[in-house]
Symmetry: C2
Subunit: 113 residues, 2 copies
DNA sequence: TAGAAATATCGCAAATTATAGATATGCATT
DNA sequence: AATGCATATCTATAATTTGCGATATTTCTA
């Protein structure tokens, strides 16, 4: 079946590259690759809510060691570029990787650059 | 035989992402994909010198329409990130894409991010 | 309904990047 | 050796990004 992905355009690609040109934001993405391992609790919460692998802002913050406001801003940048997706559940906001964007980015580099 | 490429590390990847987070620099890379087509003359020069596909700075400049100093600076940024390589021949400096870095970047995104 | 906790947004100073003009350097020609 | 190109580097200013504390907003709970 293999649904074709709509490719990203130059503008979106550049927004992604900007998001990736910061070590802390790249580290956040890398941490989110293995939520179970990097973040002890909560796995069941997001799973039950249909948002498996989602991690809340404060967990990311304590793992990375930057301020709350910077954490929130970085996640917004990652969200707007499409590299992560989020879901609010109660007072928590959970973020997880958007693997589809990763694949699109890989294709963009292979084909368009 | 397929020689394995030494992978790039986070630091180099971020330098590459910075280089790519500018529309003009991305355009330069895209133009260099098809040197024959985008740049009329000179093809034979670089070929004879063992640097096929190389384009000189002033040709790139006139195609893109930015100042000479900005062109030179952008090419230096692309060079330092490894996305292009260069060869000086006489009074000209020729630049061409470094496809190996492209492949490494694709792998980096698929495996490390 | 008054706190408390989690997150987002605002406003700011510091650092970095963008871009260009001016100048320097290297090479070729006379 | 003087001049003319091609390119690189220097210097400066405007624009953007970084990262934080302060404040606002949302949601939960007593």
């Amino acid at each position: 079946m293999n649904q074709e992905l709509t490719p990203i355009d130059d503008e979106q690609a550049i927004e992604i590259f900007k998001a990736l040109s910061n070590q802390t934001r790249v580290s956040i993405l890398q941490m989110l690759k293995d939520p179970e391992n990097n973040f002890s609790s909560q796995a069941h919460v997001t799973k039950d809510e249909g948002f498996e692998g989602g991690i809340c802002v404060s967990d990311i913050r304590s793992k990375i060691g930057i301020s709350q406001s910077t954490t929130s801003q970085y996640l917004t940048i990652l969200l707007q570029s499409g590299l992560v997706e989020m879901k609010r559940i109660g007072q928590w906001t959970y973020y997880r990787r958007n693997e589809e964007t990763m694949k699109k980015l890989e294709k963009y580099i292979g084909l368009k650059i």
